[in-house]
């Protein structure tokens, strides 16, 4: 173990490094065309057995980007109910930069179902609601 003040050893990284809070959380998520889809409120990671030894266990991986009411619970504490979180599987992520870019279209993301429902069932029924403003 190294004492504070000494130069600490640097670990060897065999891939791109992503710090969750720095590179992922609160980033805008964009679809394949660059359309904003949601923000990354939290991450779902592989199971970590609580209270059990992690000896020999595989490193957990990011399974999905979550969107929902996580921001309020991050401020006031607690944990958002899992049922209120929308998830985008990590396999749909194309790149992580200033935004998180997906390989799929916004309409294919579950997180946008409310927006699509309002568009299809309410906005479209309003006269002039089926085309762009002129």
């Amino acid at each position: 173990m190294t004492d504070e003040g000494e130069r600490l050893p640097r670990p060897e990284y065999r891939g791109r490094v992503l710090d969750a809070a720095l590179h992922l959380l609160d980033r805008q998520v964009q679809d394949v065309h660059g359309e904003p889809v949601q923000t990354a409120d939290d991450l779902e990671i592989g199971d970590v057995p609580v209270g059990e030894s992690l000896e020999g266990a595989e490193r957990p991986r990011i399974l999905a980007i979550l969107n929902g009411t996580a921001l309020s619970t991050r401020v006031v504490g607690g944990r958002p109910p899992s049922s209120t979180l929308e998830r985008i599987p990590w396999r749909h992520v194309a790149d992580v930069g200033t935004a998180i870019r997906l390989t799929i279209e916004a309409d294919d993301v579950d997180a946008t179902w409310r927006e699509r429902w309002v568009r299809d069932h309410i906005i479209r029924r309003i006269p002039g609601g089926r085309h762009d403003p002129e």
Binding site: G15, V17, L18, D19, I45, R59, A94
Partner: protein, 110 residues
């Protein structure tokens, strides 16, 4: 598990002495291909002895401006280190516990 379950929780050494709080979780894209990117696997936890708040990007070696903010944040996070996931013995309701023989690694990135 949800990442928020790990952020801000206390970290202790094998004797139960406090080491700090989890300020961030470091992932590395070093897993098998999962879509277009490699799987992002948890490499370790950034443990800050004095605060569980975010480092706001100043863990980057090159991030030094604005100078006053950099100074304040580096002071708040003085002693921050990386605890590799393989050095974690277990995670329970009391927090994260390091395993005997754990190593304190440099938390900065380029």
């Amino acid at each position: 598990m949800i990442l928020s379950d790990l952020l801000g929780v206390p970290v202790t050494d094998p004797a139960g002495a406090p080491l700090g709080r989890v300020a961030d979780a470091r992932f590395v894209l070093d897993g098998p291909l999962d879509g277009q990117l490699a799987a992002a696997r948890l490499f370790g936890l950034l443990v800050s002895p004095h605060t569980g708040s975010s480092f706001l990007g100043y863990e980057r070696r090159t991030m030094r401006a604005p100078y006053p903010i950099a100074v304040v944040l580096r002071w708040r996070h003085r002693g921050i280190f990386l605890l590799r996931w393989e050095d974690v013995e277990r995670v329970d309701r009391d927090g994260v516990h390091a395993r005997p023989g754990w190593t304190r690694y440099d938390a900065t990135i380029d």
